[in-house]
């Protein structure tokens, strides 16, 4: 069968996935956009550093399948239903047996004069965002027209770009579709508190040249607003133009009419996703679209594959939503407005904390029909399950939303109460049963479950519930979830950290005696040493600590493949005086070391033997150098750009800030290494967005990015807070680092740690910026202790005879290690290869053989 699919958006792609590798099916996909399907739901993350590739929904190799012909940049221009062909804009004619329209929708732009001026945008495709980013960089003020779900998301993006942001809404409240009046009021206040101005009941009549800004918007009530950028987010309209032109039925307000099997009036043509009109309704969410895709896949498969099951039907979809907008929880379930006859409402408002909650129940109070949650949507998952599964409500349903005396809400219903058929992930239609089966088959982590069931991979709203199911099921199966460090400690790193900190434990023997068993090993010893250092910051080479250190920390240098070591003096921010450069050159020459500029803006000297290290460091310390901690799971470098001092574009002194940061955190031990960078302006020459902590100067201060890295799995850092003054910046970094040190796993870099934090970046922002756990002061105090007790480890080592004695290659001889052999290359030494070592008496010159 020849199948043609028009549109490779989220839903069109789900169809391709659901069809699997069916034989007898030749599929042509017309994709108007320049790239195949990507995750529109997470489009906004493009602004926080996700690339088009990160957002891609296409599994590697997916389109290698010879039975799928993907045409990028190919727009379907017309249909001929009698010949059963599609003609593309390029004039190519493609025949089909079955055709699927998955053309999605386009953003509606109200017909306002001036709407096409430069600096006016919509928010739907990656190209739109690229254009917005470019314009945002030259703008100060931005307006979003439309205060719905998408409009608010867009406002957040503008605010994150550092613009003064306004939302202009025609209706009397924000998110009018999902939220009732009371909820709308609380939502508005919360959004305004975040620095976004909200203007409701505004009807834009004209956009003209502005005086201070690029545009001036005129409203029907006579008021005006100046702005540099306008984004229209005033609703969507189905892309039904192909259907209209070929007399397939469309609704009075657009949308291609389909039946329960998503067939249009022409039985060989289907329509799915946002272009389809089912029962008079368009579904502007991805989950119903996915369901339609599955329905059509089953219909097609039952035609080409005799063994396929019967075709499924689309029976409408739940439109409940939960969002976190600018850190504000908003959720709406079912009949949020209480439109069902005889329904009853329970409302709880806390003006001080700005929380609004409403339940809509059936007349007898036994069934939950709908709910609105603003400011705190923790109960969303369990309330949704109650509504969807018709679970009988407790005697007094109000307790489901009332805080108990200790301030927490008890929903009283665990996941255990859910029936096996309960749909946990609506985006991907995953039931509790499917999750439990996967867990039974050995998936014991959230990551594993996501991979194998797809649950929680789309909007992510169900992730907390999936986790609860996972935990409950593991418990039921009698699994203990083992995150033990190693055989000697039945604890995770985080637990061990708490035991050490709370118990005031200062050495390994005590730790082992109180909480562990055996002798320890190369996993737990360095971990404990790192925690001791983070908590108490005592010298790492005292007798009781030295025995815990990996070779690198033990010799305060990095071991190389031949057993020699490298020396990396700290060059904070990459700034160095000519005199110091000369010292490095002299030391390298004197000890015959290989020198190289590192990727971290400093200089590495290679090829020293253990017994040479103290002398080398003696000279470096005398010249004012300090340890660079290249050997430790510790703060490494703060990369900087030259910044406003020299650069014509710089807006802040990035070198100054880099020095401040590096000197503050140098020596800090952590679960893994930590890298920073500071850029002087948005051109980002210091690549701050690839660091664990990235700082980028703005006109008003500093933007703080966190949790990026290069390395094996590069990750862009994400914006945590904007326009900070110096003191606030440092305070947030203090909190961030200490929170990471407290809670991360061994060898877990900040990005992986963040991915494993339930609630992700938003949660992190709450803890760091809003101080939601009330830990701020404590974390800062812990950091202050570390900062105040800093000592250069090398300075201390070369002044301590006891420590110095350990820097010996042999305990009973002054000889060198004869296994360390160098040959010359490009004017410097390098380790000899095995072959070279064997033939070293023949033709290869040995420049530094052991004597």
């Amino acid at each position: 069968m020849k199948l043609v699919v028009i549109g490779n958006g989220m839903v069109g792609h789900k169809l391709l996935e659901s069809l699997g590798a069916a034989e007898n099916l030749q599929v042509t996909v017309l994709c108007e956009e320049p790239r195949p399907a990507y995750d529109r739901v997470h489009l906004s993350e493009f602004f926080s550093g996700k690339s088009a590739d990160d957002l891609s929904l296409v599994e590697p190799g997916f389109f290698d399948n010879p039975r799928i012909d993907l045409r990028l940049g190919a727009q379907a221009a017309s249909l001929d239903r009698s010949l059963k062909t599609v003609t593309t804009a390029d004039g190519e004619v493609i025949a089909y047996d079955k055709l699927v329209l998955a053309t999605g929708s386009y953003p509606f732009v109200p017909p306002i004069p001036g709407k096409d001026r430069d600096g006016c945008f919509v928010y739907r495709r990656i190209e739109d965002l690229e254009a917005m980013t470019a314009c945002g960089a030259q703008s100060k003020v931005g307006v979003v027209v439309g205060g719905g779900l998408l409009g608010l998301e867009c406002a957040k993006a503008l605010r994150d770009m550092g613009l003064t942001t306004h939302v202009v809404e025609f209706a009397p409240r924000l998110m009018a579709v999902q939220v009732d009046e009371g909820g709308g009021r609380v939502l508005r206040r919360k959004i305004e508190d975040l620095g976004v101005s909200v203007h409701t009941e505004k009807n834009t009549v004209e956009i003209v040249d502005g005086e201070q800004c690029r545009h001036r918007m005129r409203f029907a009530d006579g008021s005006e607003l100046e702005t540099d950028m306008i984004v229209f987010s005033a609703g969507i309209r189905p892309r039904d133009e192909l259907a209209r032109a070929s007399d397939l039925g469309v609704g009075p307000r657009g949308g291609i009419v389909v039946d329960n099997r998503c067939r249009t009036l022409d039985p060989d043509i289907y329509a799915i996703g946002e272009c389809a009109l089912w029962d008079g309704r368009i579904f502007g969410l991805v989950a119903p679209g996915y369901e339609m895709a599955r329905v059509v896949a089953s219909d097609i498969l039952s035609a080409v594959d005799a063994t396929a099951g019967p075709a499924a039907e689309f029976l409408g979809a739940d439109m409940s939503t939960k969002l976190k907008l600018m850190g504000v929880d908003v959720a709406s379930i079912g009949d949020a407005h209480g439109r069902t006859e005889g329904s009853r409402a329970f409302i709880y408002t806390d003006e001080r904390k700005q929380i609004y909650k409403k339940l809509v129940t059936s007349e007898d109070g036994k069934l939950l029909l709908g709910a609105v949650l603003v400011g705190d949507a923790n109960e969303y998952g369990s309330l949704l399950q109650m509504a969807l599964n018709h679970i009988e409500l407790p005697e007094s349903p109000e307790f489901l939303i009332l805080p108990s005396s200790d301030g927490t809400v008890t929903t009283g219903l665990g996941v255990d109460a859910l029936p096996a058929s309960a749909q946990i992930c609506s985006c991907n239609n995953v039931s509790k049963l499917q999750l439990c089966e996967a867990i039974g088959a050995g998936e014991t982590t959230l990551g594993g479950l996501k991979k194998c069931t797809k649950a929680a991979t789309t909007c992510g709203g169900c992730a907390p519930l999936v986790t609860q199911v996972l935990k409950a099921e593991l418990k039921r199966l009698g699994h203990s979830v083992n995150n033990h460090l190693c055989e000697h400690f039945p604890y995770s790193r985080q637990e061990l950290y708490h035991l050490i900190r709370v118990g005031g434990i200062r050495n390994f023997d005590e730790l082992l005696a109180k909480h562990g068993s055996g002798l320890g090993c190369d996993i737990c010893k360095p971990t404990a040493a790192s925690i001791f250092a983070s908590c108490w910051n005592e010298f790492v080479l005292t007798r009781d600590k030295a025995a815990l250190q990996d070779s690198n920390d033990y010799y305060l240098a990095n071991i190389q493949k031949n057993g020699s070591y490298s020396v990396v003096p700290r060059i904070a921010g990459g700034e160095i005086t000519p005199d110091k450069l000369i010292v490095i050159g002299q030391v390298a020459k004197k000890y015959g070391l290989y020198t190289k500029i590192t990727g971290g803006q400093r200089i590495d000297l290679f090829g020293a033997q253990v017994h040479q290290l103290p002398a080398i460091w003696g000279e470096l310390v005398a010249a004012g150098f300090e340890s660079g901690h290249a050997y430790g799971k510790a703060v490494r470098t703060v990369k900087s750009c030259v910044g406003s001092t020299w650069c014509r574009y710089g807006v802040q002194d990035s070198v100054g800030m880099a020095l401040l940061v590096e000197n503050r955190y140098k020596g800090l031990r952590a679960p893994h290494k930590i890298k920073f960078a500071v850029s002087g302006c948005t051109r980002e020459c210091a690549e701050a967005q690839s660091k664990d902590v990235g700082v980028i100067a703005t006109e008003k201060g500093w933007n703080l990015y966190v949790c990026g890295n290069g390395g094996m799995k590069p990750r862009h850092a994400e914006l945590l807070a904007s326009d900070l003054d110096d003191a606030t910046l440092i305070r947030y970094i203090d909190r961030f680092l200490m929170f990471y040190i407290r809670t991360a796993d061994r060898l877990q870099r900040t990005s992986v740690w963040r991915d494993n934090l339930e609630g992700g970046l938003d949660y992190l922002r709450q803890v760091i910026v809003d101080d939601s756990l009330g830990l701020g002061a404590e974390l800062e105090a812990e950091m202050r202790h570390v900062v105040d007790t800093y000592e250069c480890e090398w300075k201390k080592a070369i002044n301590d005879p006891d420590t110095l004695k350990r820097f010996r290659t042999f305990v009973n001889s002054d000889a060198d290690d004869s296994g360390v052999v160098f040959v010359e290359e490009r004017g410097q030494i390098r380790p000899a290869t095995d072959a070279e070592k064997q033939t070293r008496f023949k033709d290869i010159e040995i420049v530094a053989e052991a004597t």
Binding site: C521, D522, A546, D817
Partner: protein, 117 residues
């Protein structure tokens, strides 16, 4: 144990105190590099072990600089290069039992460490 063989010669290498508890040092004996470890935990107080300093998996002479501990019943040192573990008693490589290194006798007399090689 190797150390009780008849043909070994005993070499005094250092004072007990020159090896910090639960660490190792390297001794050069007749051109051969030997790693010597001192254990201190209550189960193994004052026990000394000696093995080759050469790590056959990385080709570097580094085992004296590895971390020591136990994996189950075995006392082991982890090579600092690629973290292969060697059994301090038998010299066997835990990750690859086909690989093994020499072990040597170690004794303490009058506060001095002696190695039989």
């Amino acid at each position: 144990m190797d150390g009780d063989r008849m043909d070994v010669a005993w070499h005094e290498v250092c004072g007990v105190d020159e090896i910090w508890p639960d660490t190792g040092i390297c001794a050069l004996i007749d051109g051969r590099q030997i790693a010597v470890f001192r254990l201190s935990a209550s189960e193994t107080p004052g026990e000394f072990f000696a093995i080759d300093n050469h790590d056959p998996m990385s080709g570097a002479n580094v085992l004296s600089r590895g971390l020591i501990g136990n994996l189950g019943e075995r006392l082991v040192v982890a090579s600092p290069i690629y973290k292969h573990h060697y059994d301090l008693r038998t010299g066997e490589c835990v990750e690859d039992p086909n690989v093994s290194i020499h072990t040597f006798g170690a004794r303490v007399r009058d506060g001095r460490v002696w190695i039989g090689a």
